[in-house]
Symmetry: C2
Subunit: 204 residues, 2 copies
Amino acid sequence: MDPYPKPLRDLIAQLKRLPGVGEKTATRLALFILADRQNLAEGLSRSLQNVHENIQLCSACFNLADKPRCSICQDPSRDSSLICVVEEPSDVLALESAHTYKGVYHVLHGLISPLGGVGPEDIRVPELMERLRHSQISEVIVATNPSVEGEGTFHYIEKLIIDGKFDTRVSRIASGIPMGGELKYMDQVTLASALRYRRLTKDK
Amino acid sequence: MDPYPKPLRDLIAQLKRLPGVGEKTATRLALFILADRQNLAEGLSRSLQNVHENIQLCSACFNLADKPRCSICQDPSRDSSLICVVEEPSDVLALESAHTYKGVYHVLHGLISPLGGVGPEDIRVPELMERLRHSQISEVIVATNPSVEGEGTFHYIEKLIIDGKFDTRVSRIASGIPMGGELKYMDQVTLASALRYRRLTKDK
């Protein structure tokens, strides 16, 4: 016999769908929400409904937006001839937090993964090629993660741009030892990559 | 410049109100909710609204309920002359999971805490006394946590029942080394309590 009433059991079941939330955490969160007197249940419910109804993908770059165009694509100070290709919207946030990039983005919403059954048509690769065909793009920076799928997606996009004879440079985000990292804790692939892509600082 | 649209920022702000959820976790959860195609946003929103509107406290024991009486108080197979006093609704769930208790509950919704400014009138102590006055109660088991406030609340309730000359036994849930626990990892207070409340298994 379950001592919790049905609406509470339903809420626990919904919370369990969140990543990293099991039965115990879901129960703790649900009871916290119930015990809260500042209307957390109502505020959260309204925010979720609002997100569900109002968030869309930018028609140009497929970043998250609440208008047909995202705030970055709408910003006239951004260099729209420079496209940075990323896997997910959260990658845009990460790069923006560095306050150094002044171009625009293209969010793929996934990576090509032959084992996972994800081909280039399943993610926003055709739309990227469409942008290259219709606008003057000086450079495409591929900033997918340095993983097997990330590298594979980079090579695929690079080949498409070379084969399509676009007047566009292609670059890959640098991979190596992160700032503050220590060589002794780095994996072999990172060390090999850091050596291979070393910067020449004085030529002879 | 924030690359996330306002409805998403609002959702992140609401999620941050949950216990143990900071900026990073809230962002991860919000993006997960958005990326989910099985309408997690809508389902969660509906559950929250439902909980907000339909959950109430049982008029007898103050456990969570979706009717005026909770499912335990409504169950005719439970012994309503035996009351187990707990701090929170989640304590009811914990005790129910042991499948051994057949009485009813009384949820205090807090503990007496002189330092925190919580007196007996701020929690459901007067309502417990009211139950003792109006029904025939054979025993009150105080199952508050073995903390300073839990012990204090126990002693306060014990004294009220003794002073009120109720024909009711009072008992305290056992405190000691948990099953599977190891003596070497136990704190001093638990060890002292386990020694003090040892069970005599053979009398001479």
